[in-house]
């Protein structure tokens, strides 16, 4: 055991090991783990002294809340900016959008989080520094609970949105610009359509495809990448759980968190594949 109380006697150690099954050969341990896995038993956390699975799932739901809200915003806002930038390509607005997008996705998420806390919590005192809820906030009414939740959500969501929307802006813009080189765009303009009409009717549909693909891939990836934001904002999600478990050397918890994260990513990707088969009849498995 790599992390233990030096006051424990050898006998205590042996007892602990027996209790956690660590005295068995490695492959036996692994086999037992798998068996337990199938029974939905991910072991018991060292630190919390509770079964791992419920802890992990609770945290997962918090993460999904945070990521879900952010996702909707960064996809929509990112694509919207990309489309407008392409429409006005060559203008100052376009140059600004591209530079802005490039910058925001070059910013490390944890640092952005720190900046937000610095500005909005420490200096301006507008948002709370950490956590998901203030204790006792839900006591008066659901409205108060909601406001409290939203004020805690605000900064992490904004951080995630700022970071991830850059990809969409750049991608949507370049796909649209690519479409603009198509001859049927000239035809449409010749027919007397305004630029915006042409964009809407003839180019948007095709141009949105790469962005949608990215959105699909992102569903899985964001769950993994949100660790930084969660930790800095102390948002009780599965990312910060992974980190905390790591610090505490709480291996069952760490394994559980890791496993569930990977499974979520797999599940999300799988769901997207299924949806694609339905959307695009050419794809068949």
């Amino acid at each position: 055991m790599l992390f233990r109380d030096p006051r424990m006697t050898p006998q205590d150690l042996a007892n602990l090991r027996a209790m956690f099954g660590l005295d068995q050969p490695l492959y036996v341990q692994f086999y037992l783990y798998l068996v337990n896995l199938f029974h939905g038993n991910l072991g018991v956390s060292f630190a919390y002294d509770q079964p791992v699975l419920p802890i992990v799932m609770q945290r997962l739901s918090n993460t999904v809340l945070l990521v879900g809200i952010a996702y909707v915003f960064f996809v929509l806002v990112g694509i919207f900016l990309g489309v407008v930038a392409a429409w006005k390509h060559g203008s100052k607005f376009d140059a600004f959008c591209v530079s802005f997008a490039l910058t925001t996705y070059s910013v490390p998420t944890f640092w952005l989080s720190m900046l937000f806390i610095l500005v909005f919590s420490v200096w301006l005192g507008v948002f709370p520094t950490s956590g998901m809820l203030t204790i006792g906030a839900g006591a008066e009414s659901f409205g108060a609970y909601l406001v409290d939740l939203l004020s805690h959500l605000a900064m992490p969501v904004i951080t995630l949105v700022l970071y991830y929307m850059g990809f969409y802006t750049i991608l949507a813009r370049s796909s649209l610009l690519e479409e603009f080189t198509q001859d049927y765009v000239l035809t449409a303009r010749a027919k007397g359509m305004s630029n915006w009409q042409v964009i809407r009717k003839h180019t948007l549909r095709n141009a949105m495809l790469p962005s949608l693909t990215l959105a699909a891939i992102n569903i899985g990836a964001v769950v993994g990448g949100v660790l930084q934001t969660e930790t800095v904002f102390s948002w009780p999600g599965i990312g910060s759980l992974t980190y905390d478990a790591l610090l505490l050397r709480d291996y069952p918890l760490l394994q559980g968190a890791f496993l569930i994260t990977a499974l979520s990513v797999l599940a999300a990707n799988f769901a997207v594949d299924i949806i694609y088969t339905w959307l695009d009849p050419r794809v068949r498995y």
């Binding site: 390509h89 060559g90 198509q182 001859d183 049927y184 000239l186 035809t187 449409a188 303009r189 010749a190 027919k191 007397g192 359509m193 305004s194 009717k201 003839h202 549909r205 095709n206």
Partner: protein, 314 residues
């Protein structure tokens, strides 16, 4: 209708002047890159964002199209002047069916219900020799010739007065070429349209046009009615072009014009054609020839046509 313009910062078209009479088929011929497409796109101001009209007037009837507002231009596009593009281009959007693309033009300029617009689209398809029930099909389901017919149908959707056809038969095989050209001529006469036909292929021009202008490196070098041009070409470039035709009856050697058109960013001094001209003289290398009237209705820009420097443009 008259048209004088320059366009683009590298002057793709440098000071040309054309006039198309009502009901006439006017041909614009020249090698690739001589500026004919740019000239035509300028008429409806469809140049890409990098292109600009630098000066001149575009008279349609009695309106100058240069300087019109965007909204006014959009009104004129397709309703008064429409274009027939090369079928091989992606001129038709592959994800919309053919009928809807024709109907789209109609609904843009007239208060028409979708059903009416589609009905008219079907009528137009029939007019160009296509099966009207195929309006629901997609462009990739049409053959090259069929696509070209569909594009012609689309161009006629709003009953324009002028149709500009840019290389309409270039990508088609000769038999289909002939069919399409005959169709276009038929429709033009029947509907009393004015037409500008652009092509690098003089035989196409010969088959359909009443008058021709030959362009080279952004300028018009000769302009005449079709018969005079072919019987008595005045400009060395035109002469070479006409001579370049293989003759079925006699066994004449194929002649080729040596060299290549000049790079518009580094034009030769004087006459733009002189590096490739077989009969150039000293003056050609110093002074640019102006388009002058050699005979009635026949203009050419060559120093060799004048005994002494003369004035005046046509």
């Amino acid at each position: 209708m008259g048209y004088t313009s320059n366009s683009g910062c590298v002057k793709a078209v440098d000071g040309i002047s054309l006039e198309v009479a009502e009901g006439e088929v006017f041909g614009l011929a020249g090698e690739s890159g001589c500026g004919k497409t740019t000239a035509m796109l300028s008429i409806m101001q469809l140049l890409p964002p990098a292109g600009r009209i630098l000066g001149g007037r575009i008279m349609f009837g009695d309106r100058d199209l240069v300087g019109l507002s965007d909204a006014a231009l959009r009104n004129i596009r397709w309703k008064s002047i429409s274009m027939v593009f090369q079928g091989a281009m992606n001129a038709l959007n592959p994800v919309h069916n053919v009928g809807s693309q024709i109907a789209e033009a109609i609904m843009l300029h007239e208060k028409s219900t979708r059903r009416d617009a589609f009905r008219r689209a079907r009528d137009l398809l029939e007019l160009v020799g296509l099966d009207p029930s195929r309006g629901g099909e997609y462009p990739h389901q049409f053959s090259g010739g069929m696509k070209q017919r569909a594009i012609i149908a689309m161009a006629l959707a709003c009953n324009p007065r002028l149709v500009i056809a840019d290389e309409p038969v270039t990508a088609l095989d000769v038999i289909v070429q002939d069919q399409i050209l005959k169709l276009m001529k038929q429709l033009q006469e029947k509907l009393h349209l004015s037409m500008i036909l652009i092509s690098h292929d003089l035989s196409v021009i010969a088959q359909t046009c009443d008058r021709v202008a030959i362009m080279y490196a952004g300028k018009i070098v000769e302009q005449a009615d079709i018969i005079s041009l072919f019987e008595k070409p005045l400009h060395p470039y035109t002469q070479a072009l006409v001579k370049a035709f293989p003759s079925v009856r006699t066994s004449r050697k194929l002649t080729v014009i040596p060299g290549a058109p000049p790079d518009l960013t580094s034009l030769p001094p004087g006459c733009r054609f002189h590096p490739r001209c077989p009969v150039k003289v000293d003056r050609c290398m110093r002074e640019e020839p102006l388009l002058i009237r050699a005979e009635a209705g026949h203009y050419a820009a060559c120093h060799l046509l004048q005994a002494e420097p003369s004035s005046g443009k046509a």
